[in-house]
């Protein structure tokens, strides 16, 4: 799919700018789309993703809310069931638990329980990931939680291009979509097509680097780290690097095809290792590519501890490019 867009006019955007341009373009396109969340209007979002949007769209469509995650998500679902296209910002993915009932029992189940009567075109954006020295309640990576519950689609794009294309698709989608934005790559730059109708399909992975020796599936911040590691390792191992982009639905086919070529797989994702996104990837690939594997699948993720505060401790538990390199070396 990424090849298909080659040759298009592009612009260099940061991840943050890509998020904002996706929201702005979709809100210009569709009067039913609006943004609400804590501090998204006057303050412009705690990480600045919606700065200036209040001026452009006014307070009806860029709404500061009380600090009430359950009401935010529930009201988003209710407005969506009535045909609006709310974009709800949850400041940190760590706060997903406050809204859990409205996510797990309402948003996720509404369409199914109603026998398909109600589309719920709700987009929820949140930030995740460690590295800000903020301690355990502002550093989590929670996309596994949401991906585990059927009824809500989950994306965790690793590039400006992917976040723009997927956020636009999320807003246009008639299903609830949770967009997980790693806050550590908000400043990361990349080429993004200049096209108001540029979207990327939910559930499609992207081969970000072609290689022949090892397939590394890497999400979010770890995608960029893995691409750097791939260049460092280029003389020894030729890595193929895939951004799954979408956690649910998950494009197993693209990953399987890569593993059929390389015979080796590393999965790198900042979720906790146990019962996490990487576990699901490993399960699927061991089922679908068992006879293509030449070595046991390796995983890179956060050990089953909380993200600690002190820099020495946080750096210890957060995975990075060195961990990917170690995992690659374990395969040979």
């Amino acid at each position: 799919m990424s090849q298909q867009h080659r040759g298009q006019e592009t612009e260099e955007l940061t991840y943050r700018e890509a998020i904002q341009s996706a929201m702005v373009e979709e809100m210009e396109r569709d009067d039913d789309a609006f943004l609400m969340g804590e501090d998204v209007a006057e303050f412009g979002g705690v990480f600045g993703a919606s700065q200036g949007m209040l001026d452009q769209f006014g307070e009806e469509r860029v709404r500061d809310t009380p600090i009430s995650e359950a009401a935010l998500v529930g009201a988003g679902a209710g407005a969506a069931a009535k045909g609006k296209r709310p974009i709800v910002e949850l400041m940190f993915s760590d706060f997903v638990g406050i809204a859990a009932e409205q996510l797990l029992n309402q948003t996720a189940k509404m369409r199914y329980m109603f026998g398909g009567q109600a589309d719920v075109p709700l987009t929820i954006r949140t930030t995740e990931g460690g590295g800000t020295r903020s301690g355990a309640q502002h550093s989590g990576t929670m996309h596994t939680w949401i991906a585990h519950v059927p009824g809500i689609k989950a994306v965790a794009p690793g590039t400006p291009r992917a976040v723009k294309g997927l956020l636009k698709s999320a807003i246009r989608a008639d299903d609830p979509v949770f967009v997980f934005e790693n806050k550590m790559i908000y400043g990361r730059e990349g080429e993004v097509p200049v096209d108001d109708d540029f979207t990327l399909p939910l559930g499609e992975a992207s081969v970000e680097r072609e290689g022949s020796d090892v397939t590394v599936v890497a999400t979010q911040r770890l995608l960029g780290e893995t691409l750097s590691t791939a260049e460092e390792l280029a003389g020894d191992f030729d890595l193929e690097v895939i951004d799954p982009r979408s956690i649910y639905p998950l494009d197993t086919d693209t990953i399987r095809e890569s593993v059929e070529k390389t015979g080796r797989l590393v999965v790198a994702d900042e979720s906790w290792l146990s019962y996490g996104t990487s576990s699901e990837l490993v399960a699927r690939l061991s089922q679908e590519a068992f006879y293509d594997l030449d070595a046991p699948i390796q995983r890179v993720g956060v050990p089953d501890v909380h993200v600690p505060y002190a820099p020495e401790l946080e750096d210890e538990v957060l995975p990075d490019g060195d961990d990917v390199r170690d995992a690659v070396e374990r395969l040979f």
Partner: protein, 340 residues
């Protein structure tokens, strides 16, 4: 426009008929849940609470939205949902309102403004605030009403929704059906105030408590709340003091109250009997006309049971439908074995 204008004789008889319809539906569901097509079903019946459901819905426009509770059959009938499709849903049939996927606790009919009964206490409130937000943003002149029980007034998300709606002046009405028992524990053991509408003070909005066994009192309070809401003056809490005659669910041994108390309420406060008597006293209804209404309603529910009994069961494969507007391969593999 209101559904039944209780300022008119016709509207009052319409509301009485609809309360009878709720009662007959519920008595029938009770019977069928111990012997018949609902034997497998979990149902929470609202017998005794007809006036809050019908009185509140009577004051609403067809295009207004509601959410109901786990005790939601009255809300659904009040909002004009078809008892045939409701009974078929309770019986788990494909032709039911939700294709057999929802059942009693998830009855919904979005075309009729029923955004779902709810299996979780208090969870409808944020959703209804969102529907009211859509009313507000679209400036459609409609309102959204959340039915909640007394128990839900102890749920944080109800207060989050009220605060949000009050702060934004959303056209929301929260109709509290205080039936004195939250599940299996008396309301007085769950709350520190007697009139739950007093919570309105915390949000700077009106809160009124009315006799929830009096359909006219409920109608008037909700009609006033609706006028405030459409005028942009924000939400109102209306509490109706009511009573449920059956247990929390049909096999509830009800250790929290004496049977004599239930009998006394039935004798003295029954919302249908008292309203019938009032209309007869006013000369707006005769005994014979009431019996005709009763017979008419019985026939309608009998027809609903016949419809539900004859309705087709879903094919097991239908379990894999209706998850998404845009389906995912993770589910399609179960309907298309070649993908496995």
């Amino acid at each position: 426009m209101v559904t039944f204008d209780l300022e008119t004789e016709e509207g009052r008889r319409g509301a009485l008929r609809r309360m009878l319809l709720v009662r007959e539906f519920e008595e029938t569901a009770s019977r069928l849940s111990s012997d018949g097509i609902l034997e497998f079903a979990t149902v929470h019946l609202c017998i005794g609470q007809e006036a809050t459901a019908v009185g509140a819905c009577a004051a609403l426009d067809d295009d207004d939205d509601i959410t109901g509770t786990h005790r939601g059959h009255g809300h659904a009938i009040g909002k004009g949902l078809d008892p045939k499709l409701m009974m078929a849903e309770l019986a788990g049939r494909r032709e039911g309102l939700c294709n057999g996927k929802g059942g009693s606790m998830h009855l919904a009919d979005t075309d009729k403004g029923m955004l779902g009964a709810n299996g979780v206490v208090g969870s409808g409130a944020p959703i209804t605030a969102g529907a009211a937000l859509a009313n507000h943003m679209d400036d459609d002149g409609n309102v959204s009403l959340a039915f909640i029980g007394d128990g839900a007034m102890a749920q944080g998300q109800v207060h989050e929704a009220l605060n949000l709606a009050a702060t934004w002046d959303l056209p929301l009405i929260v109709m509290v059906e205080n039936n004195e028992v939250g599940e299996f524990t008396l309301a007085e053991d769950q709350h520190n105030i007697e009139d739950l509408s007093e919570t309105a003070a915390a949000y700077g909005i009106p809160g009124v408590t009315v006799d929830g066994m009096d359909v006219e009192a409920v109608f008037e309070a909700v009609e006033e709340a609706r006028q405030r809401a459409v005028a942009g003056e924000g939400p109102t809490i209306v509490e109706g003091k009511t009573y449920r005659y059956h247990g929390h669910f049909e096999s509830d041994p009800e250790p929290y109250r004496e049977e004599s108390e239930v009998e006394r309420v039935r004798e003295e406060r029954d919302p249908i009997d008292t309203y019938r008597d009032r209309l007869i006293e006013r000369g707006e209804l005769t005994e014979a006309a009431f019996e005709d209404l009763q017979a008419d309603v019985e026939a309608q529910i009998e027809e609903a049971v016949e419809f539900a009994s004859a309705a087709e069961h879903p094919d097991p494969e239908e379990a894999y439908e209706d998850m998404y507007a845009d389906p995912v391969p993770e589910i399609e593999q179960f309907t298309n074995p070649t993908l496995l």
